[in-house]
Amino acid sequence: MDRQPLLSVRDLEIRFRMRHGDLTAVNRVSFDLARGDRLGIVGESGAGKSVTGFGILNLVSKPGYIAGGRLLFEGRELTALPEEDLRQIRGNRISMIFQDPMMTLNPVLTIGTQMVETILAHRAISRAEATAIALDRIRKVAIPSPQKRLQQYPHEFSGGMRQRIVIAIALLNSPALIIADEPTTALDVTIQADILELLLGLCQSEKMGLILITHDLAVVSQVAERIAVMYAGTIVEIGPTAQVAGNPQHPYTRGLLGALPQRVPRGGRLNQIPGMMPTLTRVPEGCPFSNRCTLCEEVCRRRVPPLEPKAAGCLAACHLLD
């Protein structure tokens, strides 16, 4: 068993070029993902979790760009790869699942075309062989009559079915890693659980790594083995799911968990973290959470807390924890 992680992110920094200087959307984010491991990245909107996900494949929309850090994937440094080599990794070794299946599939191309092209972009095989693979993957995501489905257009599918297709496309080239950006957010609540279960099952059976980006703690704890909590562009806490969800260290994570409706007696007032996450132009100096933290002390306003081991297997960025 090789000890090297599948993906090793070190001090990743992603910035957006703005008229009045750069905004740092992802600030020195580091984490490792072992082969077949599942990591959940949680955080509020604008915390930088999606940008991190897109950053791994260098697909951050302009004016965003990777300003620093390293991305080691299967022994290769992604930030140093030429575009063509990176293209061969995209959709091949690392697949992505986007948030809204209504928007991700091209409306004017058949499902078959969109699947087959993904295979042919990476492998020199015949169209018939590629179609056979596509059929196999559609079966894997439990869509009936795959042969017929291949000839249909996205608008002939429901939202849940489309996300199944997107998952099937992610599986086409048997990738080592899937990055799923809010894969269930745009779906009906009733379908969300099905899709999650499908994704989880496939990751286990195909031994694929998964980075699940979501704002939904419940979703993450169902699927991921480890959780990274992001706040204002930084990881504030990362550790095994049971640890982070059961015994959170960082005040922000505690606040998040405390805000879950099920933690509050029926009819009681819901808890919330006071204030709002700062916009990227106004991240406070020192600890980014300092202006909302109930425990905030002098040192928090002055120095950025490093991400350090705190409780069992858990790293957190807080001055006040030991």
Binding site: M96, V108, E117, A121, E156
Partner: protein, 325 residues
């Protein structure tokens, strides 16, 4: 698809009915058919008798019905001036116009697509800015001025290209006189085609650029890139195919307009097509020919638009579904 086809054709027929009604009304209120048939030596009583005999005193709708019935058989009346069936006169002139329109469309399609895509992909490149600048100028200058300018530079000044006429023609089967098969004929096509495209080309470059830019921002383009597709495929198959929908719609309307708008270009270049013929017919108050031209161009317009709609249906899968219902 079939239901969609039937529906579009029904609409086209309805539009043609309206056009024929308008054409017929013009004919009724402008010209007097008796003047066409009789000389000055015919007495008023004889005129009245003839009027009655020809059914010119019948109710308007009945006469329109007769006009329609004759039009369906290809009889759009006789030209006063040419003393020949108007349709024959028009068909004799049509090849000149259609060839001009065809080469102009070819020019527009071949240039606007690559330039439009390029300008969308690299909006900041100086070449893209240059194209955008030139296209503004092209749109702003009236066609006849562009035409005169072209003649001034390339015919009078440089003496490279002929300034008027169609040059050497070849008669094809069915009497179609074509300038496509001689180098002289092709040379004569160059300036008029450029002049005629000076409005359409910038319009299409800007349209394709705007649509393409919008498409490139969509999730499915980002997704196509995330699938690791080659950049060319992302751009042309995923990007441009979606850009095509609005472009086809506008293109259909513009193709009709192009046929109608050859009038100015044909006049400047003394191009013996339908446009020049129409201007002459207006000069001579040749009502029958004017009305016949209206109906003919109307029919052409409607046919082109219907075909474009059907093509649109082929490109856009969602239209086909609507038709299937």
């Amino acid at each position: 698809m079939f239901a969609f086809f039937i529906r579009r054709v029904t609409q086209a027929v309805f539009v043609m009915l309206v056009i024929s009604l308008i054409g017929f009304t013009i004919k009724q209120s402008v010209g007097d058919p008796l003047r066409e048939i009789t000389g000055i030596s015919v007495s008023a009583a004889e005129r009245d008798a003839l009027r009655e005999k020809l059914g010119l005193n019948d109710p308007f709708l009945l006469q329109w019905g007769r006009f329609l019935a004759r039009a369906l058989q290809g009889d759009l009346g006789n030209s006063f001036y040419f003393k020949r069936p108007a349709l024959q006169v028009i068909l004799g002139k049509a090849p000149a116009t259609l060839e001009l329109v065809f080469s102009t469309s070819l020019l527009v399609v071949l240039l606007s697509i690559p330039i439009g895509i390029y300008a969308a992909v690299r909006p900041r490149a100086w070449l893209a800015r240059f194209f955008m600048g030139v296209s503004i100028v092209g749109v702003s200058i009236p066609v006849f001025l562009t035409a005169i300018l072209l003649i001034y530079v390339f015919s009078v000044g440089l003496g490279w290209l002929p300034s008027f006429g169609r040059g050497e023609l070849v008669t094809l089967f069915g009497g179609w006189q074509s300038g496509y098969f001689t180098s002289d004929g092709l040379k004569h096509l160059i300036l008029p085609s450029i002049a005629l495209s000076s409005i359409m080309l910038p319009l299409f470059i800007r349209l394709i650029r705007a649509e393409m830019k919008e498409v490139l921002e969509t999730d499915y383009i980002k997704y196509a890139r995330a699938k690791g597709l080659k950049p060319g495929r992302v751009l042309l198959v995923h990007g441009f195919k979606n850009t095509l929908l609005p472009v086809i719609t506008v293109g259909g309307v513009q193709l009709g307009t192009l046929i109608a708008f050859t009038i100015l270009t044909e006049t400047v270049f003394q191009w013996q097509g339908m446009g020049a013929m129409f201007i002459e017919a207006v000069d001579r108050a040749d009502t029958s020919l004017i009305v016949a031209y209206l109906v003919f161009v109307g029919a052409l317009f409607v046919t082109v638009n219907t075909v474009v709609d059907l093509v649109y249906g082929l490109v856009n899968p969602m239209i086909r579904i609507a038709g299937r219902r």
